[in-house]
C-alpha cells in the first residue's frame, strides 16, 4: 500500500493518533490538509495557554492577546512543518508540537508587552546601596556591592555589560534584549553565561569567595 493510500480522512470529531501524525502530514492531498488543520489547532491550544500565563499579559486586552495567540499558532505550525525531520518519536508528537506553540506565543507576548517601552543601554554608574540589618553587614555588603559594580564596569566588555544590565538589573526579557540588539536568544544567553563567569573570576580575584557573595549582604 502506498503512503497516499494508507490514511483516510478523519471524522469531524477525530484527531490523528499519536503515531499517525508524521505519516498524515507527509501524505499529499486532503489527508495532509486535514492534518495541518489539526496541527494548527494543537498550536493554538498551546499558544493560548502560554498567553494566559504571561505576567502582565492582561494589560494588552483580550482581543490583542487572542490575535497574538493566532499569529503564534500560524508561525508555530509553519515552523513545526519545516522541522518534521527533527521529530524522533522520543516524546509524543503532541508534546513535541506544543513546544513550538509555547515558544512562539511567549516571544510574541514579550515583544508586544515591550513594544512601546524604552530599554536604557546604560553603564552602572549610579550609587548602589546594599540591603543590610547591622553596621557590620552594611560595610561588608557595601564592599561586595562595590566590587560587583567594579566588575561590571571593568571585567566585562561593553556588549556583555549592556546585556547583563538589561537582563538582570533592569529585568528586560531576553527576547526583547535580543530584538533590540539585532541578535537572538541563543547568543544573548551565551553572552550572559560568559559575563557571569568573568564576574565570578573578578570577585574571586578581589578576595570574595562564592559563599561570601551570597552571605555577606544577607546575614
Amino acid at each position: 500500500m502506498t503512503a497516499a493510500g494508507r490514511y483516510r480522512l478523519l471524522g469531524p470529531d477525530s484527531v490523528p493518533a499519536d503515531d499517525e501524525w508524521i505519516g498524515r502530514l507527509r501524505t499529499p492531498g486532503p489527508v495532509r490538509d486535514q492534518a495541518v488543520q489539526h496541527l494548527h489547532a494543537l498550536m493554538l491550544r498551546a499558544a493560548r495557554h502560554r498567553v494566559s500565563r504571561m505576567p502582565d499579559g492582561a494589560a494588552l486586552g483580550a482581543v490583542r492577546r487572542d490575535e497574538i495567540a493566532h499569529a503564534a499558532a500560524d508561525e508555530a505550525t509553519l515552523s513545526a512543518l519545516g522541522r518534521l525531520d527533527s521529530f524522533e518519536g522520543r516524546s509524543r508528537f503532541t508534546t513535541w508540537a506544543y513546544k513550538f506553540g509555547i515558544l512562539c506565543a511567549g516571544v510574541e507576548m514579550r515583544r508586544a508587552l515591550w513594544r512601546d517601552r524604552d530599554v536604557r543601554w546604560h553603564d552602572v554608574s549610579e550609587p548602589l546601596e546594599p540591603a543590610a540589618t547591622s553596621p557590620e553587614s552594611f560595610v561588608e555588603g557595601r564592599d561586595l556591592a562595590a566590587a560587583v559594580r567594579d566588575g561590571l564596569t571593568q571585567a566585562l566588555t561593553d556588549h556583555q555589560r549592556r546585556v547583563v544590565v538589561a537582563l538582570l538589573v533592569d529585568g528586560v526579557p531576553i527576547d526583547v534584549v535580543a530584538d533590540r540588539l539585532g541578535s537572538n536568544r541563543n547568543a544573548i544567553y551565551k553572552t550572559l553565561h560568559d559575563a557571569r563567569r568573568r564576574l565570578r573570576t573578578h570577585l574571586e580575584e578581589q578576595g570574595f569567595t562564592r559563599e561570601a557573595t551570597t552571605t555577606e549582604v544577607t546575614r
Binding site: V169, P173, V217
Partner: protein, 96 residues
C-alpha cells in the same frame, strides 16, 4: 524607561550564578519535550545541563513550565502537580 535597582544579595546571586554545565537555548528547546514528558511520566530526573539551563534562563524555564502544565493532565497530573514536580526537580538535593 526602565527603573534601576540597587545591588542586593538577590542581584549579586543572579549576576554571579554558575551556568555550568552549559546548554544553549536552542539545545534546551530541542530537548524540552522529551525531558519534561519523561520527568512527568516516569519520575525520572532531568539531565544536569538541561536542569541548570532552566534555573538560569527565565524564558526557557517559563516555557518548560507551560509545557508541563499542558501535558500534565494527559499524564495523570494536575497542572499544579506537574509544575511542582518540575520545580522540585530543578532544585533537587545532590544536583550540582
Amino acid at each position: 524607561m526602565t527603573e534601576h535597582r540597587s545591588i542586593d544579595s538577590e542581584l549579586i546571586e543572579a549576576l554571579t550564578a554558575a551556568g555550568d554545565p552549559y546548554l544553549s537555548c536552542d539545545d534546551c528547546f530541542e530537548q524540552t519535550d522529551v525531558a519534561v514528558e519523561s520527568l512527568l511520566a516516569t519520575d525520572g530526573h532531568l539531565d544536569d545541563p538541561f536542569r541548570v539551563h532552566l534555573l538560569r534562563c527565565p524564558a526557557c524555564h517559563d516555557e518548560a513550565v507551560s509545557l508541563a502544565e499542558l501535558i500534565g493532565p494527559e499524564l495523570g497530573l494536575t497542572p499544579t502537580e506537574a509544575t511542582a514536580r518540575l520545580d522540585a526537580e530543578l532544585v533537587r538535593e545532590g544536583a550540582p
